[in-house]
């Protein structure tokens, strides 16, 4: 081995050590500042983490792209899912009068809200695009109450970090961090395009998170749980927990 390649070897080794320790320090700092996703799978951890940290740093307060009323899709796509279960059908037959949204976990006043209770909050609208990870999209007007207002009413404890939400349909659930949960465009949506939210589109109650993909916009939600720890694993099917891209 000659002089030059020995020097090269030492430089490379020093560079690699600096790089690895730099990454370790960055990972610690990111973790301490809530910039690491709570769950990822295996070899995709680095990619998921860099995407989440970069987007979280840049989008904490940004607003989902607004659309004009003329841009509302004439033919939105409901994306057929498995037919609702017996319990859903029973509630639907009763005009959803017995539908309840249970709110528990790290809140000062756990609650069980009827649709009338939810509608008693000042309603808000947004005209935004729903984008599915499969590639399709549509624009619609969404009517509902910002999740933030409901969370403020039940009193979220200061240590809370995530909000889990669950569908009445088995297996459909998701969670978001507090930055998204408290974002003014994150809605508990009960209306669409000037009317009731159709069952196909998640009626009577759907989570609307316009800065994330469709699969975070869970339909038929009946339970919110506020926690200080993220999900134990990535969503079924190996989809990224964070869906901003």
């Amino acid at each position: 081995m000659n002089q030059l390649s020995r020097r090269k070897l030492i430089t490379t080794a020093l560079g690699a050590t600096a790089g690895v320790s730099g990454i370790a320090v960055a990972a610690r700092l990111a973790g301490r500042n809530g910039l690491t996703p709570p769950a990822w799978h295996g070899i995709f951890g680095p990619g998921d983490t860099v995407t989440y940290s970069a987007q979280r740093l840049m989008t904490r307060h940004t607003m989902a792209r607004p659309f004009s009323r003329e841009q509302i899709s004439k033919t939105p796509f409901a994306n057929e899912i498995a037919p609702p279960t017996g319990e859903f059908n029973r509630l639907q037959a009763g005009g959803f009068a017995d539908w309840r949204l249970v709110i528990d976990g790290m809140v000062a006043r756990p609650a069980s809200l009827s649709l009338a209770d939810i509608r008693s909050y000042p309603s808000r609208t947004q005209i935004t695009q729903l984008v599915c990870e499969e590639g399709w999209s549509y624009v619609a007007e969404w009517i509902g109450v910002p999740l933030r207002n409901v969370l403020e009413a039940v009193g979220v404890l200061p240590q809370a970090k995530y909000v889990f939400y669950q569908s009445i349909e088995k297996g459909w659930a998701a969670s978001i961090d507090m930055a998204d949960a408290l974002h003014p465009q994150t809605f508990l949506a009960y209306g669409m395009n000037g009317g009731e939210l159709p069952v196909g589109f998640g009626g009577p109650l759907r989570m609307r998170v316009p800065r994330q993909l469709g699969y975070k916009n869970v339909k038929f939600i009946n339970r919110l749980t506020v926690t200080d720890s993220g999900p134990a694993s990535v969503p079924p099917g190996g989809y990224s927990w964070y869906a901003g891209i």
């Binding site: 995709f44 990619g47 989008t59 033919t75 796509f77 695009q129 599915c132 590639g135 399709w136 800065r211």
Partner: protein, 244 residues
């Protein structure tokens, strides 16, 4: 002196070349997986099975909701495909940025990629073009630098096609466009971005096929060796006095 001969390709070019190669195939494979969940393309903001497509690929889909004319549905592999796609995207974008910064500072673009003025005459261009269509194999001396058409192809990929692919990819992110809506509105909408992203992929695949064909034609072993070790075989024999 063993190291007095300048390498055919610098370490930066060699490392970023192979990082890009690995990422390209990861992105292509995962991109195809994601694409088959909705093999239809649209223009503007809106696109779903109720909207008339601009283009439909004659392939089956991995979603039962998409009408394809096939009687079966492919398995859904989008979960890991999406994660692989974005991880490889980060790797190729970061190594690409490093390549561009290094190329600007060490003169790689000026010396090796920007065509010489003499090569831009109509006559020089048509000669180079004629060499290519006749599949004329360059000598080792000619292969020691890039020819004029090759330079244009590399410049187009590095400075037009690759950035456009990254841009149209980012334009599909609902979080990214919340920072700057013009990222997607300049392209004509979410579906336009997706369509352009697809055509960028087609062009990149064509480039890679032609690139491999040209490498094959000009001596696969030597060209590949130069991109791995930095040197072609003859140079090693001459300069290091090793036995062949």
């Amino acid at each position: 002196m063993a190291d007095s001969v300048a390498p055919r390709h610098t370490t930066t070019v060699r490392v970023t070349h192979w990082v890009a190669t690995l990422c390209f195939f990861a992105l292509l494979l995962s991109g195809i997986e994601i694409l088959i969940s909705h093999p239809r393309f649209y223009w503007g903001e809106e696109g779903n099975i109720h909207v008339k497509p601009l283009l439909t690929l004659p392939i089956p889909a991995s979603r039962a909701t998409v009408p394809t004319g096939y009687g079966y549905v492919l398995p859904d592999q989008n979960g890991w495909s999406r994660s692989l796609h974005f991880e490889a995207a980060w790797a190729v974008v970061l190594s690409g940025l490093f390549y561009v910064l290094a190329g600007l500072s060490d003169g790689h673009f000026r010396k090796n990629l920007v065509p010489a003025r003499a090569d831009l005459s109509g006559r020089a261009l048509s000669e180079s073009f004629a060499d290519h269509v006749r599949f004329r194999r360059p000598g080792e001396a000619a292969a020691a630098s890039y020819n004029v058409l090759q330079r244009f192809a590399y410049l187009a990929v590095v400075f037009v096609l690759f950035p456009l692919t990254v841009w149209t990819g980012l334009a599909m992110s609902p979080a990214i466009v919340s920072i700057a809506p013009s990222v997607v509105t300049l392209l004509g909408g979410h579906q336009s971005a997706r369509t352009v992203h697809f055509f960028c992929t087609i062009l990149l695949v064509l480039f890679v096929l032609v690139h491999i064909g040209m490498v094959w034609l000009s001596g696969f072993g030597n060209r590949t060796r130069a991109m791995i070790t930095g040197h072609v075989a003859e140079q090693r024999v001459v300069t290091q006095g090793e036995h062949p």
